[in-house]
């Protein structure tokens, strides 16, 4: 299977994150694992780019972040656990609908052309 890189995901990353959080609260690293797992290894993100998307979702009230206790004892490093909000769930449903429409329309055109 061909690898899908971050650039091809432009505009969809936020919905993918919301989808990963439907499985339960998670920190950034865990979200990334869930996405890679769900993409069967075909999804390759530049890992840092996950966080700006998370910050935008948080600012938009679609996820809620809370700091994890610093049990790891790693100085200066702290995980933030993200939780899907009601607004985030609604946005995810909308994004699913939009994407299905996109696939249907673009897929139909590509199918016709080929």
């Amino acid at each position: 299977m061909a690898t899908i890189h971050g650039d091809a995901l432009r505009g969809h990353l936020e919905a993918l994150i919301l989808s990963a959080l439907r499985r339960g609260d998670a920190h950034g690293f865990e979200i990334l694992h869930r996405l890679e797992e769900a993409g069967s290894g075909a999804l390759k993100l530049k890992e840092g780019s996950l966080y700006p998307a998370l910050y935008r979702l948080e600012a938009g009230g679609m996820v809620k972040g809370e700091w994890e206790g610093n049990e790891t004892g790693r100085r200066g490093a702290r995980r933030r656990i993200y939780k899907l909000t009601v607004k985030g769930r609604r946005r995810l449903e909308t994004a699913r609908g939009e994407f299905q429409q996109f696939v249907s329309v673009v897929g139909g055109i590509l199918g016709t052309i080929s």
Partner: protein, 235 residues
């Protein structure tokens, strides 16, 4: 993980975060979270590759281009963070001499003092129906005296801070600082006969100490933070 590896991971994060124009709090959040991420990624790579240098290189590849990440992080900074950034810039500046910093802080605190005084007078005017009638020389003295004390306090705390950062303990310095402040205030007030006016003296001392305590506290946190991240050589 040894200290050198930890520093390398911090540098990786700092390359992306330092150029972001955001308040200290916002950047702290980015740094902490991104450092936690690269630490986890490094742990993965160490298990897979078994070689520290190779694991570091692979972690950097996974993390992505710092300049691109900077741009994305910048876009994610909320507009309301601008106010916090302005306050941070008013209070702390990189590479500024201690004396310039002391003057800036003293002017800032004096402006706050004058605003507070003005607001109090205005409130008095609204409530009582006439302007308060302080003795003019006393008011002038309080304005000048307050600025002198603030300048002295800010200079002292700016001067003390580097020593705190090295020791990472500052309680004795703070006590010493307050002792010197009280002594300085007494030295300034007593010759002018102001110490005899108990209420005025206590009023000014409370303002002086509250302002300096706040500044000391923020400076100490800032200095520790500065040492941990902003002194990293990222180029």
């Amino acid at each position: 993980m040894n200290e050198t590896t930890q520093t390398q991971l911090k540098i990786l994060v700092e390359r992306a975060v330092r150029p972001v124009r955001a308040g200290v709090g916002c950047k702290r959040k980015m740094r902490q979270e991104l450092l936690a991420h690269v630490t986890d990624a490094f742990g993965d790579e160490m298990k897979r590759l078994g070689d520290e240098q190779a694991a570091l290189e692979q972690t950097a590849r996974r993390f992505g281009n710092p300049a691109e990440l900077t741009a994305k992080l910048q876009e994610s900074v909320p507009a309301k963070d601008r106010v916090k950034r302005i306050i941070d810039q008013l209070l702390f500046r990189r590479g500024e001499s201690w004396l310039a910093g002391a003057f800036r802080i003293a002017i800032l605190l004096e402006a706050m003092f004058v605003t507070h005084l003005g607001a109090t007078y205005l409130l008095y005017r609204v409530v009582v129906g006439r302007w308060p009638t302080p003795k003019s020389p006393a008011l002038r003295w309080e304005l000048v005296g307050f600025f002198s004390l603030m300048l002295f306090g800010a200079s002292l705390s700016q001067w003390i801070m580097p020593f705190n950062a090295a020791r990472r303990r500052c309680w004795w310095d703070i006590l010493l600082f307050f002792a010197i402040c009280v002594a300085a205030a007494l030295a300034l007030f007593v010759p002018f006969g102001r110490a005899g006016n108990g209420r005025s003296f206590i009023y000014i001392m409370i303002q002086l100490n509250v302002a300096n305590l706040g500044y000391m506290f923020m400076s100490t946190l800032r200095r520790r933070y500065f040492d941990e991240w902003e002194r990293l050589e990222i180029n």
